[in-house]
């Protein structure tokens, strides 16, 4: 699964930085009929988390009303050099992640 992540590489202590992510995913709603006339099974990313230094700083509970190839933007306060980990799960149950290091100083 392709994802594009944008997090500043460096930040000053206390600075609030923006995190953006674009994930390749159909976000199949479960309400759509396919060519065979049957409902296409739901497959959405339903849970998204952001850990900073291992602690959850942001989370999103996601419903089928989020667009295909979902885009999320949010913030975190830079306090120390640590890993920023973005984790998400879809209906297949498999967890995906992207990691970036945020250098603070």
């Amino acid at each position: 699964m392709v994802a594009m992540v944008n997090i500043p590489e460096t930040a000053a202590p206390g600075e609030i930085v923006e995190v953006k992510i674009l994930i390749s995913h159909p976000m199949e709603t479960g309400f759509r009929t396919g060519a065979d006339g049957k409902l296409v099974p739901r497959n959405i990313i339903h849970d998204f988390r952001c850990l900073y230094g291992g602690t959850e700083v942001f989370r999103a509970e996601i419903f089928p009303a989020i667009a295909a190839n979902p885009f999320l933007g949010f913030f975190l306060r830079a306090v120390e050099t640590a890993e920023v980990e973005l984790l998400w799960t879809d209906e297949t149950g498999e967890e995906h992640s992207e990691r970036r290091t945020l250098t603070v100083g």
Binding site: V2, A3, M4, N6, K20, L22, I23, S24, P26, M27, A67, A68, N69, F71
Partner: protein
């Protein structure tokens, strides 16, 4: 013939008409333009990223990647999408960019063909087209393409389907008008493959042709058919001078 004459009258005429013409981008809301302009926001960039990875991936029995022959796409592919479709000596016919990538696979990589609307082909085409972003469309001047362009023009102006409409009825005569809420664009193929919100994914120009043909209740031609290649050649000539913007975002 008129078209060919127009193409031969030189650069000044081309520039003047390019200024009068408006791409679909210019007709979009500021929000959609922003979605296209910001690389982190443009969903088509996911395909570009996949294409960049595929460019360096060895494929087929030859075990060759695109990069093995072409080197860095930033240099070797710059402006290429703005010149296509181009003449293919071996088949004695024009090929579009997706067709050329397909021929590279079968002729040089000894790999199996990809469907024209398959994800990897769209991804590679998006990556190659991206290398022409901002480059003015400059149709190939090979005279062997001219009869194809003429055929494309005829197709553009031929009424088809139960609704009995030609492309030109909407995109020449009524561009800027409204079909219900939708503003009719001039149909310049500046940003293909493009991310269409209606599709919720990337798709090629020939898929878009199919949408329009189904819209007028006509029997679509096949993707990659000589008819669509001819139409693509005509539309690219008609759009000469407009800047490439792949991957475009459209409603």
């Amino acid at each position: 013939m008129m078209l060919r004459a127009a193409l031969l009258t030189g650069a000044l005429a081309t520039v003047a008409t390019a200024e009068e013409r408006r791409t679909g981008y210019e007709m979009m809301s500021p929000d959609l333009r922003a979605m296209q302009d910001d690389e982190m926001s443009n969903p088509g960039m996911l395909w570009v990223a996949e294409g960049a990875a595929l460019w360096d991936t060895p494929e087929g029995e030859a075990g060759l990647s695109c990069a093995d022959c072409h080197g860095g796409a930033e240099q070797s592919m710059a402006g290429v999408a703005a010149r296509y479709p181009a003449w293919d000596e071996d088949s004695g016919a024009p090929v579009d960019l997706a067709g050329r990538i397909g021929l590279c696979r079968t002729r040089h990589q000894n790999a199996g063909a990809w469907d024209r609307e398959s994800r990897p082909l769209l991804a590679l085409a998006a990556f190659v087209s991206r290398q022409s972003k901002g480059v003015p469309i400059t149709p190939d001047s090979d005279p062997r393409l001219d009869p194809w362009r003429d055929t494309g023009r005829v197709l553009f102006e031929t009424r088809m389907g139960q609704l009995n409409l030609a492309c030109a009825n909407c995109h020449d005569d009524h561009a800027g008008g409204h079909l219900a809420a939708a503003t009719i664009p001039e149909a310049h193929p500046t940003g293909y493959p493009q991310y269409r919100l209606q599709w919720e994914e990337m798709g090629g120009l020939h898929r878009r042709f199919g949408n329009c043909m189904a819209g007028v209740r006509a029997e679509p031609f096949a993707s990659g058919s000589p008819e669509y290649i001819a139409l693509e050649l005509f539309l690219m000539s008609r759009a000469a001078g407009l800047e490439m913007e792949a991957p475009a975002v459209r409603p």
